[in-house]
Amino acid sequence: MMNTPRHALHWAHLLHRVSGIALALFLPVHFYLLSLALTDPDAFSSVIAFTDQPLVKVAEGGLVFLLCAHLFGGLRLMALESLSWTATQKTLAAAGIAGSALVALLFFLQVARA
């Protein structure tokens, strides 16, 4: 038997699947909690207070990671399957997009803080 395929593309595939499932589980809960703002403001306030805990902040970091991993994993797949490019061209394009996204994210964080 094949134990585990040991190459980067397989890990990329696995990360994309796992992050997708995790986000699919998270989103209904997320929307339900947001809906409390309309249906039950007191409950919503306690949820907001709960998210101020340091451990939840750390978990939010993990959530952003999953979101980014799934987003870029999806872009990677679309580039892989839709563009008739060489592997090097695709790598350079992916590096370009990742670099741009990083700069944009840093900019956004600065704006959000100001």
Partner: protein, 244 residues
């Protein structure tokens, strides 16, 4: 790390109804291939060991096996590159029925080639002369990149999609269809695309990429299958195939 003088080799024996394992101690030698190890076991330790090989130089595609869990052509795989400490684990190719020991039934693999309509149907008769094919043309470059397959089934064994759906055509057959669709001498590329667009065809591929990663002759079936997917989309949008 120093090379051990002997290695412990675990070899899968029997068939699916009666699987077992045997361990052999085999001397390590310079420039030894995994196929050399299997041959040594058969000649010096157990003549009943079954395995398959022919050319021993990486052309015939007969000798592929699982080596330490990964599919490899054993005649061109040096022991020094795959030895895990002093351990070597040999098993028959994944995703194919075991006949005995290290020999698998290749029929599902070759049946997939038939189902993928991987047959060249000439567009010219003998009297029409030889077709002039421009080697610089885009379809020809795509076909050339995929044409040197040796039918070893390493990609088929590596593919997780085949593992999940045994009816899936698999990387090699789909790549063959891709070369035909890009061959301007092929008379019916649309029929070939039809054959690989069914429920077990190219759209099943999850783009994991194990086929391209493990292909011993460094072909890229992943790219060929992506090409097929693009042609399916192009045709749905009313566009022509590259050689139609």
């Amino acid at each position: 790390m120093s090379t051990p003088s002997e290695m412990r080799v675990t070899v899968a024996r029997g068939d699916a109804s009666n699987p077992s394992e045997m361990e052999f101690t085999v001397p390590v030698e310079a420039n030894q291939t995994v196929l050399d190890v299997v041959t040594w076991i058969q000649q010096h330790a157990d003549p009943t060991l079954s395995y398959r090989f022919a050319c021993r130089v990486g052309m015939c595609g007969s000798c592929a096996m699982m080596v330490n869990g990964e599919p490899r052509w054993t005649c061109r795989t040096h022991v020094s590159r795959v030895l895990d400490g002093d351990r070597l684990v040999l098993a028959p190719l994944r995703n194919l029925p075991v006949i005995k020991d290290l020999v698998v039934d290749m029929n599902p693999f070759f049946d997939a080639w038939q189902r993928a309509d991987a047959v060249h149907r000439p567009s010219r008769a003998r009297a029409d002369g030889v077709a002039a094919v421009n080697p610089e043309s885009r379809p020809r470059i795509a076909a050339d990149a995929a044409i040197e397959c040796i039918n070893c089934a390493v990609c088929y064994a590596a593919c997780d999609t085949v593992a999940g759906n045994p009816d899936y055509l698999g990387p090699a057959a789909l790549q063959r269809a891709w070369t035909l669709i890009n061959d301007e001498r092929h008379s019916d590329p649309a029929a070939t695309l039809d054959a690989v667009t069914g429920t077990d065809g190219c759209l099943n591929c999850h783009s994991i990429g194990s086929c391209s990663h493990y292909c011993p002759v460094e072909l890229r079936p992943l790219d060929a299958i992506a090409g097929l997917k693009r042609q399916v989309v192009r045709r749905a949008l009313g566009k022509r195939l590259p050689c139609d």
